[in-house]
């Protein structure tokens, strides 16, 4: 098993080294146009400077603040509305066409409006992340609650459980698996929405830095930022995996 892991790691390391070496060789010899695709050493140098001069950390903090707030607010609102929908299905049926229309609307097209309403700061980024997270978590909340075992509900009702007991002891834990897959996706989309909005127009943030570097043809910087964004995405998934292992250990 361990030998297999080492072998897999070696294969991947060799693959990456070969690609990077070919890229660097192509950039130096002029086979590849550096001004459009950059070079690995240039990317490494930009990343090093970006780490040292503090710009990366400032923008990362700015982006993560927006991601965090849009995810928390979007999920909380979605869970609240989901509960209302499950409790009053007639209200859900009434809202259904509006929810569907808003959900299919390409949210990125709303960024200009969000900027007008909330400015170039975190407000418009939170609004964008919120608008994506909300609908994903809403549908998983409704599906999670509707999908709980009816046997569990029947049994709990025959025991004379109060609505509060039924909700906290049966409905909520029973809905967590489906709800959690919605939260996982909601977090990815909050990140996507925030960075997307930052690329379009922002005071700060990783997306804003990326857009600025691209507009000034600093391709090494663009690659460096893309790498940072990928690492942030991986980190967010690791956090969700850790949470899932804790919350759903019983599965």
């Amino acid at each position: 098993m361990k030998a297999n892991l080492v072998s897999t790691f070696t294969k991947h390391a060799a693959f990456v080294v070969i690609i990077v070496a070919l890229w660097e060789w192509g950039a130096r010899t002029g086979v590849i146009d550096q001004s459009f695709v950059g070079s690995p050493l240039g990317i490494a140098s930009f990343t090093y400077n970006n780490l040292l001069n503090g710009r990366l950390w400032g923008d990362l903090g700015w982006t993560m603040l927006s991601v965090k707030l849009s995810f928390i607010l979007g999920s909380a609102a979605a869970i609240g509305v989901g509960l209302v929908f499950v409790t009053w299905p007639k209200f859900e049926a009434f809202c259904d066409p509006y929810v569907n229309a808003l959900n299919v609307l390409p949210r990125i097209a709303m960024v200009p409006l969000f900027i007008l309403w909330f400015g170039l700061g975190v407000g418009s980024k939170i609004a964008m992340g919120f608008s994506l997270t909300f609908f994903i978590v809403l549908s998983s909340t409704v599906a999670g609650i509707r999908g709980i075992s009816q046997d569990h509900v029947t049994l709990t009702r025959t025991l004379g459980a109060t609505s509060r007991q039924l909700f906290f002891w049966v409905t909520l834990p029973g809905a967590v698996p489906v709800l959690f897959s919605g939260l996982r996706l909601g977090l990815i989309y909050a990140f996507l929405g925030v960075v997307g909005a930052e690329v379009i127009a922002s005071e700060r943030g990783l997306g804003q830095q990326l857009a600025y570097l691209a507009s000034t043809f600093a391709i090494d910087g663009v690659w460096s930022l893309l790498l940072d964004l990928a690492l942030v995405g991986v980190f967010l998934m690791k956090v969700m995996n850790w949470l899932e292992r804790r919350l759903l250990h019983w599965q």
Partner: protein, 254 residues
């Protein structure tokens, strides 16, 4: 414990689900209900549990009162495995008591005693995913018997088990009932199970469900499932129950 007089039930106002049900379950009695699928056995159980409302003007009393959903007189055990997968065996066994307001330490102590009684000492912290089907139904039995409810409603609790596990759990149920003096209304498809466990076997016809026979089981208690296999009275009663069930089919088809 249960008293039903000339009960009719229809969900749509046109077709009867249950028709002309007259039934009495005495305190401490074990009655099995057998009949074809869809004959209304579970509906009858649900009426007694308060899950289905008794129609106006109809008489159905549990412990001399109209049935109330969640009434403490009744403990319900479902056909399928109904353990909560996120709770350990002991928390599942204590669940009913906790819902009904028993303080946590007391509920857990009682649950622990019951788990030991059903042969699951040492499995208190096991999650349902780590238990076999038979063990999970043992936990469900512990949960049901942990509550002091005098009336147990059991809806094919061993229906999904393999033959050997089923026999073991039937034996366990016989012992638990003998120890704790409960009244039991037990729905089953398995006629041998009905005869082995019950004092009387009620046979129901196809829909609309009506009682077509009430067969007393002349077997002394305490009983042992293994000994019943060689008992003539067991086989004669089993044959009689079969005959009544077949007559029900013939009437229905005719």
């Amino acid at each position: 414990m249960i008293d039903i007089k000339r009960l009719h039930l229809s969900f749509d106002g046109v077709n009867d689900v249950l028709s002309d049900i007259d039934f009495h379950l005495a305190s401490g009695e074990f009655v099995a209900i057998a009949g074809p699928s869809g004959c209304g056995k579970t509906t009858l159980l649900n009426l007694c549990a308060g899950l289905v409302e008794v129609p106006d003007g109809q008489h159905l009393a549990v412990a001399s009162k109209p049935p109330v959903l969640g009434g403490h007189d009744v403990a319900y055990m479902l056909a399928r495995d109904s353990l909560f997968p996120w709770l350990s065996a002991i928390d599942n066994a204590a669940f009913g008591l906790k819902v009904r307001g028993t303080p946590e330490p007391e509920a857990r102590a009682r649950a622990q005693t019951m788990l030991k009684r059903v042969g699951l000492a040492g499995y208190e912290d096991a999650l349902p995913k780590a238990l076999s089907h038979g063990m999970r139904q043992r936990v469900a039995l512990a949960r049901t018997f942990a509550m002091p409810s005098p009336l147990l409603l059991m809806d094919e609790p061993f229906g999904a088990l393999d033959a050997q596990t089923k026999l073991q759990l039937q034996d366990l149920l016989l012992q638990l009932c003998q120890e704790s003096e409960r009244s039991v209304l037990f729905v089953t498809h398995d006629l041998a199970e009905a005869v082995a466990l019950a004092d009387r076997v009620i046979i129901m016809s196809s829909r609309p469900g009506r009682i077509i026979a009430d067969v007393p089981v002349p077997l002394p208690r305490p009983r042992s499932i293994r000994q019943l296999q060689t008992n003539d009275a067991f086989h004669q009663t089993y044959a009689a129950v079969w005959r009544h069930l077949e007559e029900g089919w013939t009437h229905h088809e005719g």
